[in-house]
Amino acid sequence: MTTTTHPSPQVRRGTPAPGTQHHGVLRIIGTTLTWAFASFNVLVLLFMLFSSFKTTKEIFRAPWAPPSSLHFENWSQAWSNGGFGSAAVNTILVVAASSVSVLVIAAPAAYALSRTQTRLAGGLTVFFTLGIGIPTQVTIIPIFVMMAKVNLVNNLFGLYVVYTAVSLPFTVFLLTGFFRSLPGRLEEAAAIDGAGVVRTFVQIMLPLARSGLVTALILNIIGLWHETLIALVFIQDQDKSTLSLSLLSFMSTITSFSDNPNWGALFAGVSILVLPMLALYVWLGRRIVEGITVGATK
């Protein structure tokens, strides 16, 4: 009706409304602390990046200063000696395969659960959600023993299978909510046009749900990229290690077996693990934040 009924809080105005300009002491303290907190996050990441180009001596002498010269050898040392190169390949392969596979399995299930109004469907939805609450530490021993029996331990394919499985409950939960929010009219229209259920799902609902699927994909990529406990238990060989494992073992090498630890190389390794996800965040930040908060606020 009118353009000014619900101005969003972000709208920058001319003269502010009376009273809102009144800065209380609390507000000033709060704003200052908030900026300090945000600056801390930025500084820590800058410190990480700067240190990856420094010598150990320089890191300790002037921790906050930008590098005086760029020591790229830190990066090459981490990449080859630290095993981050092969670990990066392993991680990308396993994470990509698992996060796509879980979508292929979860999407039809979530669609069926969201569109069937039976007691069974309702119960199953809750049943799947329960899995979010079961921590890995409870199931990892039986899963390990089970995978050992079929020789899928210390094996990247085995890790892929486990990663796909552990991502399932959250993905089903997220996608069920997403499919539920899609209008049912379109399916009825498709049915009138003579499309069967499978065709409706593949040709109508999946394209409509694309943003939900992409969100689920991204969130799973982030989660699995950082996964450590399962990898730690399942992978022993260095040539099969993931980035998290490489970082842990690199840290143990340079801290316990060397008199002259190369911290610069460690931070290069840290950056290799961090930068891809930060790039993803810069690229898709809004969608990531929305995807994470939507489950809780809907």
Partner: protein
């Protein structure tokens, strides 16, 4: 001729029967019927995977917790023995207390700060940039955050270098007694962004007219928080609290990397539930492989947390509100 007539009749009859069938199955449309037929094929793969990797192992863990087992030899049934030992195990006590400390102390601090942030961020310049930055720890591996956190506070680390620059004495932040508080503080740091973001999303959905009416009424910001923000985000806060409870039990990497490496575990003083399970099964230079004992600890903690979640949801339940 006759045949054609017959065929016509047959078709008609078939048509009628068909319609009758649809009607007799209640108010269900053909669309609904097709959907039901395909329900199982659609759900089955996910269900099988879920049963094999979640429900099966969870039940197996309960069974294993009543045995003495190292994974290779035959399991030996020991009844509740593992649980009895757990109750007297000082290492488990520490892990148990640490897990609860994380749940309660970190939880309360995170939610208080998150709410404080929402109050500040609602009316702040550059709020979108600040929001994005506060969320960055979620995008960074907990191992990395742990390493950075340690580096910041180690004796010749960043904080002390700043203190020295201001002419102050360096502090032994990471002495044995300080370790757990520093871990708790670190967890606050890495978790605030996520929960602030969830609560902010809920605050953003509150129609602005309520804040306007509150301004007309003459509320101060604290009253606005208690009369508008909190009641209108309560259901989201309840979900976020549940989420935190679940996530806090899963915490592993941050503590593990704060003193341990692939080969060595951190001191048992800082263990939580997940580290205890790992330490009693696969972790360390010479893994204990005490699968029964580790499972007992895992199952016990899961039950405790499940009860906690149920209580939490009951306490926080309110009539759902619609704007």
């Amino acid at each position: 001729m006759i045949r054609e007539a017959e065929r016509a009749t047959a078709t008609t009859t078939a048509g009628v029967t068909d319609e009758g069938a649809v009607r007799s199955s209640g108010a269900r449309s053909t669309l609904e019927r097709d959907r039901r037929r395909l329900f199982l094929p659609f759900v089955l793969p996910a269900l099988v995977l879920y049963l094999v990797f979640f429900i099966g192992p969870a039940l197996a863990a309960v069974w294993i917790s009543f045995t003495r087992w190292n994974g290779s030899t035959d399991a030996e049934w020991v009844g509740t023995r593992n649980y009895e030992v757990l109750v007297d195990d000082p290492v488990f006590h520490t892990a148990f207390v640490n897990t609860l400390l994380i749940l309660v102390v970190v939880g309360v601090v995170v939610f208080v700060i998150a709410f404080g942030l929402t109050m500040v961020l609602r009316e702040m310049r550059g709020r979108n940039a600040v929001r994005s930055i506060l969320f960055t720890p979620y995008m960074v591996s907990a191992i990395v955050l742990s390493i950075l956190w340690g580096f910041i506070f180690q004796y010749d680390g960043l904080v002390n270098s700043l203190l020295e620059a201001f002419g102050m004495e360096p502090v032994k932040w990471l002495s044995a007694g300080n370790l757990m508080p520093m871990i708790l503080l670190g967890m606050v740091w890495i978790n605030v962004g996520l929960y602030a973001m969830i609560i902010l999303a809920a605050v953003d959905r509150i129609p602005n007219q309520y804040y306007e009416d509150a301004a007309l009424a003459g509320t101060n910001s604290l009253q606005r928080f208690f009369y508008v923000t909190l009641p209108m985000t309560w259901d989201v806060v309840a979900v976020a609290a549940t989420l935190w409870t679940i996530n806090s039990l899963k915490i592993f990497e941050f503590i593990f990397a704060f003193g341990g490496t692939t080969t060595d575990l951190p001191s048992t003083d800082v263990w939580n539930s997940a580290l205890f399970v790992y330490g009693m099964s696969f972790g360390g230079r010479t893994p204990a492989y005490a699968f029964g004992y580790a499972s007992a600890a895992a199952v016990l903690m899961l039950i405790l947390f499940a009860v906690f979640v149920i209580l939490l949801r009951r306490i926080m339940r309110r009539e759902p509100i619609e704007f």
